[in-house]
């Protein structure tokens, strides 16, 4: 090999090889980290990626998924051109059409539905992606429909509801300053490594870590000073037992509670029924360990819980999450460095140190007299508590099937994944009943096959976007490559739609650059070109570090102005099945335990996947090629199941067939399965009404099931 060949093979960026580095961000595990990427470009193509040194979230490193960015953006199944349906719905036959024609069809069909059935009959549905959400929400509202629904109906909003009902605002544990962390149902090292790194940094500085998790996670086995392995769904009982001790032994922060908390008496009375022995009986965790965990939590200050998102994926999940947060209030650990801190969102769920006009951007177009949005009557707490007025998508299947309180006739889908929905085939059947479906996506998904018009979207590498980062950073990317196919970015598509629909909304019709600068006009940034030219994130002039204690001083944005240990909104709603207190209750479905002896937990992250979006990335798929269920070795032995055997997971509604992965990551009696696989979609076996009545969230992480060994035919 010549020297040049060696350089080329090693992909060394230099004038000789013609390989240059351009900066962009990874949008695979959106929206949290969105790590900085150095894209190695040769002849207009990405030939390799690396993390950007000095970037606020990742400083040069990447996670498993981000490292596979190249294959993600060049996935074989990317949509390549706008298409219109040529065969029957679901058949997957399409013909290419031009962007102009596609827009004309969309405008005509959507306006037709609006004219015949009202604007509410059109639902604007968004999948996992976050970066274009304010635009899509404004599109829906300007169109006149209140039905803007996102994947957050199953992901993050329940947490927001829990935080909001207690503290009046979304909050986050301040991991950087904590000296002790009680990680509760969170495996930070895998699900979001910057968070994991913060936990490990705390440990490295001599801090203590308690892990409470039904799964024996990486964090539990490697880093925990104390590990509690509760039965799935028993967490509230543990939290209550801790609260009881704190109150009875007068170890809670009485001054704080007196001054800032509402509903203490009721709450104290309720938790007084949770003795350590009762908690042990419910959770299977030795009483001594519960006390030890509490001691560690109280004896270190500042300390914080780190509640995992998955806690809310049980049908009593909202209460479980609140029960855990209550410990923060009780111990006076709120709005101080190293405890739970109020969080701000500047743009698309992330914070750049200043308040933007994002909320106003879409809420100013809220259709005042529209009929109620999807899910709003079924889930009154959702409707009353949330400021941003999304619909609760978990009521969508029912709404589509029953057509009440009014029929839904058209869907505008952006990155929608049917496998997010319980009994997912019913979602696709619902789509097929629509008069018109337009679907935008990066990839040719199953939902695409059910659309009338298909619009190809871009990845973060091909677009320009603003992203905010903790630490008051703001980043305006430039495209690292031109579109791989005849695709456009989502906001461009929204802008085209707004224009085609001839909406009375000049701002939205003006495109990304103008609208984002409008939303961020509070930043103090004058020269946006300079921001765009910066290779690394910048600080906006108006960005300010939050001063701890501000919230305590200014009062909480709850109806009572206090931290609500009993939720006043629920008191007002007054429905008997919705308790204002964070009660403990089983999150099981009512399947017969004799027939369905296992408890299924689904959706906990594996390193090589986020939902379904990386299952078709060969590098990532090769790391764990088969959909597989984690079964405890003791259970496996009892059932005669060996590593790699084929097994069936059976629920009351359906079953899927997967491989067995024998591992004590699963507790005895529990099984654990990752989601989003086309050939083994775990959500297809969860009953459609297995929902938390408070939040509408699906019980992804607790369902009775049975494991059957399938004899492989030779």
């Amino acid at each position: 090999m010549t020297e040049l060949e060696r350089l080329q093979k090693a992909k060394i960026p230099c004038p000789e090889t013609g390989i240059e580095i351009r900066h962009t961000v990874c949008d695979i595990c959106t929206p949290g980290p969105q790590c900085g990427i150095d894209a190695f470009i040769k002849d207009g193509k990405v030939i390799k990626v690396e993390g950007t040194d000095g970037f606020p979230t990742n400083d040069g490193v990447l996670c498993t998924k981000g490292a596979a960015s190249r294959q993600y953006i060049y996935r074989e199944d990317r949509l390549k051109t706008p298409m219109k349906r040529a065969g029957a719905r679901g058949e997957g036959r399409f013909e290419p059409i031009s962007w102009e024609d596609a827009m004309a069809v969309c405008a005509e069909e959507l306006n037709k539905v609006k004219a015949n059935h009202g604007p509410e009959a059109v639902t604007f549905l968004c999948g996992y992606s976050k970066w274009f959400r304010p635009w899509l929400q404004r599109l829906a509202y300007s169109f006149g429909s209140p039905n803007y629904i996102t994947e957050s109906s199953t992901c993050h909003t329940a947490e927001v509801m829990s935080y909001t009902s207690l503290f009046g605002t979304y909050s986050m544990p301040d991991l950087r300053n904590a000296k002790m962390i009680m990680s509760w149902g969170s495996n930070g090292v895998i699900n979001s490594y910057p968070m994991g790194r913060a936990v490990l940094a705390m440990k490295a500085q001599g801090g203590k870590l308690v892990v409470i998790d039904p799964r024996r996670t990486h964090l539990a086995v490697k880093y925990a000073d104390l590990y509690l392995q509760p039965k799935i769904g028993s967490d509230a009982a543990i939290a209550h037992a801790m609260a009881k001790i704190m109150i009875e032994e007068e170890r809670y922060d009485k001054a704080f509670v007196d001054k800032y908390c509402y509903g203490f008496e009721k709450y104290a009375n309720y938790v007084s029924h949770f003795s350590l022995s009762r908690a042990e009986e419910i959770s299977g965790v030795p009483a001594g360990d519960i006390r030890k965990a509490l001691d560690m939590f109280l004896e270190t200050d500042p300390s914080t819980v780190l509640p995992g998102n998955g806690l809310t994926h049980r049908i009593n999940g909202y209460n479980i999450h609140r029960a855990i947060l209550s410990l923060m209030a009780l111990s006076g650990r709120y709005d101080r460095p190293g405890t739970m801190m109020p969080a701000r969102k500047t743009l698309c769920e992330s914070d750049a140190g200043f308040d933007s006009l994002e909320h106003d951007f879409y809420m100013s177009r809220w259709p005042q007299n529209a009929r109620p949005r999807v899910g709003s009557e079924r889930f009154p707490l959702w409707t009353k508590l949330l400021h941003d007025r999304q619909g609760q998508g978990m009521d969508l299947i029912r709404h589509m099937e029953e057509g009440t309180p009014y029929p839904l006739k058209a869907m505008v889908c952006f990155g929608v994944n049917d496998r997010m929905y319980l009994e997912s085939p019913r979602f696709l059947a619902g789509l097929d009943r629509m008069d018109f479906v337009v679907a935008t996506d990066i990839f040719h998904t199953d939902v695409i096959n059910h659309a009338d018009i298909v619009l190809p979207a871009s990845t973060s590498f091909e677009r320009s976007e603003v992203k905010c980062y903790m630490g008051q950073f703001l980043y305006y990317t430039r495209p690292a490559i031109s579109p791989v196919h005849d695709n456009k970015d989502d906001v461009e598509i929204i802008t085209l739609l707004a224009n085609a629909l001839d909406l009375d909304d000049d701002l939205l019709r003006s495109g990304y650059d103008k609208t984002v600068q409008h939303m961020l006009s509070t930043s103090g940034i004058e020269d946006w070109e300079a921001v765009k030219n910066s290779p690394l994130p910048v600080r906006a002039p108006n960005a300010k570090r939050y001063i701890p204690g501000t919230q305590l001083r200014e009062g909480f944005k709850t109806p009572t102005g206090k931290i609500e240990l009993s939720c006043s909104v629920l008191e007002e709603i007054g429905r008997p099945d919705l308790d204002p207190l964070p009660i403990h209750k089983s999150s099981d479905d009512d399947a017969d335990p004799a027939k369905y002896p296992f408890v299924l937990m689904s959706g906990a992250r594996i390193p090589n996947a986020v939902h379904s979006r990386t299952h078709n990335v060969p590098w990532l798929r090769s790391l764990r090629p088969n959909p597989s269920v984690d079964i405890n070795p003791a259970d496996a032995e009892r059932l005669g199941i060996k590593q790699g055997d084929t097994v069936r997971i059976v629920s009351t509604v359906s079953s899927i067939t997967v491989k067995a992965n024998i591992s004590s990551i699963s507790n005895v009696g529990d099984v654990n399965m990752f989601h989003g696989y086309k050939e083994a979609n775990i959500n297809s076996i969860i009953p459609v009404d297995h929902l938390d009545p408070y939040t509408g969230f699906p019980g992804y992480k607790q369902l009775r099931c049975r494991i059957e060994k399938v004899e492989d035919r030779p």
Binding site: K11, V61, V189, K222
Partner: protein, 170 residues
């Protein structure tokens, strides 16, 4: 300067980011049955009530008296004098797999259809230009590092934590 790859077992979570970075760096195509030159995995042992987990990332150890090099009948494998990495030129490789049987770590691969040996070359060209190996650079937990031989000796002396280098079998 001679280098040693070191894995700090206490930091590795077997996330395989390193394996993916290796695939990106070396254009590995799993659809063609190819595998990366680095692999991460979890090993679980001991009683069910109190299992012991080990998290590992393994690639070529660039052994000192590289058994693969000694075994190769055609002299494909060599020690790079500058870095000490076990590098290769597979022009004359006959695909006999002798190197594979000699290697204690199952490292030599026969990735493409040519039947010729490939393996981790320590990202030698990057290292020679002051860059880190792709797998080391990506690791989100700083578990993997490339250290000079003297730093390595120092590390072994001062740091009692379990580290893996080519002495892994001992």
């Amino acid at each position: 300067m001679k280098y040693v790859f070191v894995l700090d077992e206490s930091k590795c979570v077997a996330c395989s980011a390193c394996a993916v970075a290796c695939m990106d760096q070396n254009d590995i195509d799993p659809l063609a049955g190819d595998i990366p030159f680095r692999a991460a995995f979890v090993d679980e042992q001991g009683p069910v009530e109190d299992p012991k987990f080990t998290f590992l990332s393994i690639a070529c150890m660039h052994c000192e008296n590289a058994p693969c090099m000694i075994a190769c009948p055609t002299g494909c494998l060599k020690k790079d004098p500058e870095t000490g990495f076990t590098v290769f030129d597979n022009t004359n490789c006959i695909g006999c797999h002798s190197c594979a049987m000699a290697c204690p770590f199952a490292q030599p691969c026969f990735n493409d259809n040519s039947g010729k040996m490939t393996k981790c070359d320590g990202c030698v060209e990057r290292v020679k230009r002051g860059m880190q190996p792709a797998c080391v650079k990506v690791c989100p937990f700083g578990a993997l590092s490339l250290v000079s031989e003297s730093e390595y000796q120092e590390l072994m002396r001062t740091d009692a934590r379990k580290k893996i280098s080519y002495k892994i079998l001992d």
